[in-house]
Structures are given as C-alpha cells and as structure tokens.
C-alpha cells in the first residue's frame, strides 16, 4: 500500500471518528497503588473507537501499569474500567482477552519453543475454552464467541473437532500471510530476528480477534529501517483489521508519526493530552521530559 493512500485512509478515519466519537475503552478515575507508591494516579480518559492513541511519558511514569490494569493483571485500587459498555474491572486477563482486548509486552513474551504458526494458533484457543467469559458476554446482551460444548472431549476423541482445527489453521495461515511472515511459518519463534519477533507478537495479539490492541513499546530495540516498517505496519493493522490501537512508545518519531492523539503521563498523572502538534509545543510536557533546570539555561 502506498504512503499516500495510507494517509488518505487515515484522514478518512479521523473524519468518521470525529462524527461518531464513540469510546471503546473508558478509564474512569483509575488509581493503582503498590504499598506507598502510587503508580497510576486518578487516570481519567477514553479511547475512541478506531483511533490511534499514543501514551508517552518519562521512565517510571506508570504507562505499562495502565496497560496492566486494563488487561486485568492488576486490580486497580480505585476506579472502574469500561470496555465496550461492559465494566471489566473485576475480570481476569484471559476473560478480558476473550471480550476483545489484546496486548503485546515491553520485553517480548513469545512462546519461543513453538513455531510461528503455533504461536498464532494458540491465540485462537480461547474460543474453545472460555465459557465463563462467554457468559459475561451473554449477560451483557452480546453474542458469545463459542456456542458449542465439550471441546476437551472433542479434541481428545477427534469427534466433531477436525473441521474446527482445519478452520483455525486456515485462519492462522491467512493472518500470517497478511502480516508478511509466511516465509517463517514453520520456524520456531526463537529463530526469528528481533524485528520479526515484534511483528509476530502483534500478529499473535491480532489472532485473538480483538477490538482494542494495546502495544507496549513496539519499536523498542529496533533499527531505523525496522522502525520505519513498523510505523506503516501499525497503520495498516488498524485499517485492515479494523481495530483501535492504543500504544506506549518512547521513540518520538513513531509517536508523532503514527498517533492521532497523544496522552502524556508523569509521576502517574496525566499532564497533557492532544494532537501531536499540541503535545510538541506543550510547556508542561517539555518540562517533564527535560527537567526544570532547562528553563534557567
């Protein structure tokens, strides 16, 4: 896809979003405290459906903690998290994934001894095995992802299972092709170069068929060429897979080049929010990044 077409699509997306402006994720005054340390302090913001939102801030500002609270790894001290009109605050990570939030990790966490194909297939497994998360969906008037029962016995006896396996395989191969990893389909994840490992992690997250994709420093450790590829990849993912993207990033080039809206955190608090241009000129952001002493220089 050409750069020009991407930009055009992007503009269209921004326009349509401005008309609808419907939130997919709401963080309602979320606070996360570890002992005496307040990692996230009264985080109150929304992620709008279809947008590309960035979360930046100095080291230790609490960015990853926000992701961990959203994905259920931590239970927030205060506040609520609403995803797709469901209050997901009390739910466990696997349930939240089933409801439609997928993530990647700051330090890559692939299933290294499994092949690329298997990594992607694992991400589809929750469709068979999450009746409790499906009950949450149904309670909230949404359709469950799986309507059949006894998948364990089907898998062991292979009765009424092979067609499902075939369908999962088909889907996984399709996805791998789409993200451009088919040349390493049967390689172990550990054998992939760094950039492709990052890509695979995103592909694996996409295989859970999320509505919201959380990327934790996707460009970390990449060289300029890989970073360039990643930026167009993220845009493509948003458009082709129809997901909302919420990403943490240190590389300002990535953040300013990809994100349509940016939230800045410092010491657990939101200190600024706006378009890339607004953020670049915000004195509080400059202060947080460069420190007060710079004013005196």
């Amino acid at each position: 896809m050409s750069e020009g077409r991407v930009n055009q699509l992007e503009k269209e997306a921004v326009k349509s979003k401005a008309e609808v402006n419907e939130p997919v994720l709401v963080l309602d005054h979320v606070t996360m405290q570890f002992g005496g340390l307040i990692a996230v302090n009264d985080f109150d913001n929304k992620v709008i459906k279809g947008e590309l939102l960035g979360l930046i801030g100095p080291n230790g500002a609490g960015k990853t903690t926000v992701f961990n609270v959203v994905t259920g790894i931590y239970y927030p001290t205060k506040g609520r998290i609403i995803f797709d009109d469901i209050d997901i605050t009390p739910f466990k990570p696997y349930q939240i994934t089933h409801l439609g939030i997928a993530r990647t990790f700051q330090n890559i966490r692939l299933f290294y001894d499994l092949t690329v194909l298997e990594n992607v297939l694992v991400a589809q497994h929750h469709e068979l095995s999450n009746p409790d998360a499906d009950r949450i969906l149904m309670r909230n008037g949404k359709s469950p992802k799986n309507t059949q029962k006894m998948w364990f016995w089907r898998a062991v006896t292979k009765l009424g299972y092979t067609s499902k396996e075939k369908e999962m395989l088909e889907r996984a191969k399709n996805l791998i092709e789409k993200v451009g990893l088919s040349h390493v389909m049967y390689e172990k994840a550990s054998a992939l170069p760094y950039g492709e490992q990052r890509k695979l992690e995103i592909a694996r997250a996409l295989a859970t068929e999320p509505k919201l994709l959380l990327l934790d420093e996707p460009a970390a450790g990449m060289n300029p060429k890989e970073t360039e590829d990643l930026m167009s990849f993220i845009r493509r993912v948003r458009d082709e897979f129809n997901v909302t993207v919420f990403l943490i990033e240190h590389d300002m080039k990535v953040v300013m080049g990809v994100c349509e809206r940016i939230i800045v955190m410092d010491y657990g608090k939101i200190i600024a929010e706006g378009t890339p241009e607004e953020i670049q000129n915000n004195p509080r952001v400059i202060e947080a990044y460069l420190g007060k002493e710079w004013e005196n220089v």
Partner: protein
C-alpha cells in the same frame, strides 16, 4: 505428672528440635537466597557428616570432639565439591535443571552411603567410649520438677553458640557482606571485583558445616545413623526455611523453632496423631505457601510484567 512439668519437658524438647531444624534450615536459606536453588541434597550432606564423625571415631578411635570437628570440615568440603561438580555447570541453565540435578545428587549421596557404609542402622552413641564422655549422654538434670537430659541443654547451648558465630560471619565479616551482596544482584557484585564463584562455594561449605553440626547433635539425641536419616530432617528444615521466609537467616531460626514446637506439642498433647507427625510439616508448608508464600520474615516479590 502435673501440667507444668509436662509442659516444661516438652518446651525444652521443642527448643532443642527447633534449634536443630534451624541449623539445617540456614543452609537451605543461604543457598536459595543466592542461587534461587533448593539444594535438595542438603539433608543428605548432613547424613554424610554424621557418618564422617562416626567413622572417624570408630576407625581411628579419636575422641568425640575431634571426630565432630573432622566431620564438620569434611561436610564443608563435600558441600563445596557438590556445588563445583554438579551445580556450577548449570548456573545459566533453566532454574528447574539445577533442581532436578539436586534431586539426583540427593539420591546419589543416599545410595553412596548404602554402598559404602551399608544400609543397616548403627548406634551413633558408640563413639562415646570413656566413662567421662558417657556422662554427657546419661546425666539428667532436674528443672522445676522436670527431668531434662543434660544433652538437651548442651544441644541448645551449642546451637546458640553456632548461631552467634554465624551471625558474626554473615553480618560483620567481609565475606558475609559479599554473600549478602550476591543475594541481591550477582552481575553487579561480579563487576565490583568480587569472586562470585568463590563466595558461592563458601556459602555451600558454611551451610554444609552447619548441617553436619546439626546432624551430629541429632544423632546423639535420636541415636542411630543410617543412609536415609537426612531425608525427613532435610525436608522439615526446608519447610522451616520457607515458613520463616526463604532467603532470610533470622527467618530460618523462627521457622525452625516454630516447626519444632508444633511438632513436639501436637505429638505430646494429641498422642493418637503421633503417626502423622511427619505429615504435619507438609500440611503447614502447603498452608503457608497458599496464604503467605513469602513466609513470616521474607520479602514479598512482585512479578514484573
């Protein structure tokens, strides 16, 4: 026997047993604190120490004190060797590999003892030959109406003295400081120019020496020596280390005493349960791991995501 006397007798027994557990537990906790490895063979090093003492006394007819010193030194050397041969090559392997190797080492030492020393139980008190030394075993003191063997007091006092020396080494000496530094961060400590492998070897030697000391006192009180004698005390001392908070030396003391008291008092106040005395410790272990896995004095570790 009235209540107070009965209590007093159990109290001293528990204090002694708890102290012995604590001495073994320190070895587990120091190694775990540094390498995150459960040295499964620790109880068997204790057993080997007891055999060293036994054979030094029997074959060279040396006095018990000399035999004990030889045994403690021998066990220290054995602990050092085991680390060098079996655990050091696996420092960078997955943690579970070292654990599996330690399990193998435990069975190796047990079967080594069966082959070399024989599977038959031998009375350890054989090492006391002279009349004077037999006094240690047989003399009984009266304390508040309770009959407490002199040996019990000796064991308690000796344990206290050993702990005093241990605390001096760990908290006041240079090598102790190196040990504590390594337990926090191995690569950084190595960058400070400290011989990490040497310190780890010293930790194994120190822990093994304490286990041997504990084992010798154990064998004087529970009077036999046999190849599997290290298994149960070893397991319980490990549980004591976990209960107290693994990685913490004061925790090992607290855990050891707690286990000793629970074991002695449940058995004496509920004699029908005495067959299950070894099961109690495991139940305590599972409970503590469920509700306070960091133990009584341990620090809580937060998993970084």
């Amino acid at each position: 026997m009235n209540q107070e006397v009965f209590f007093l007798q159990n109290f001293f027994n528990a204090l002694m047993l708890g102290g012995l557990y604590a001495l073994i537990a320190v070895g587990y906790t120091m190694v775990y604190g540094i390498l995150r490895l459960i040295n499964f063979a620790h109880g068997d090093i204790m057993m080997m120490g007891v055999y060293f003492a036994f054979y030094t006394a029997v074959l060279f007819s040396s006095p018990p004190l000399i035999a004990a010193i030889v045994a403690v030194a021998g066990a220290a050397g054995l602990g050092f060797l085991i680390d060098r041969i079996a655990y050091k090559p696996l420092r960078n392997a997955p943690r579970i590999s070292a654990l599996i190797t330690a399990i193998g080492m435990s069975f190796f030492l047990e079967s080594f003892a069966v082959v070399v020393f024989g599977a038959v139980q031998k009375p350890f008190v054989q090492i006391f030959k002279t009349k004077e030394s037999k006094v240690i075993l047989n003399k009984v003191l009266m304390v508040g109406g309770a009959r407490i063997p002199l040996l019990t007091f000796l064991v308690i006092l000796l344990t206290l003295a050993i702990f005093a020396v241990l605390f001096l080494i760990v908290y006041k000496s240079k090598i102790g400081m190196a040990m504590r530094a390594i337990s926090m961060d191995i690569p950084t400590t190595a960058l400070m120019g400290i011989n990490v492998d040497g310190v780890i070897g010293f930790t194994f030697a120190l822990g093994s020496a304490l286990a041997a000391a504990s084992g010798i006192m154990w064998a004087m009180r529970y009077p036999n020596v046999y190849p599997y004698m290290g298994f149960m005390p070893g397991m319980k001392a490990f549980i004591a280390a976990v209960v107290g908070g693994i990685g913490s030396i004061p925790g090992a003391v607290v855990g050891g005493l707690l286990l000793g008291f629970i074991e002695i008092f449940t058995v004496s106040y509920f004699p029908t349960m005495s067959g299950y005395r070894d099961a109690f410790s495991f139940i305590i272990l599972i409970l503590i791991l469920m509700f306070k896995p960091s133990g009584i004095l341990g620090k809580k570790a937060i998993e970084k995501v």
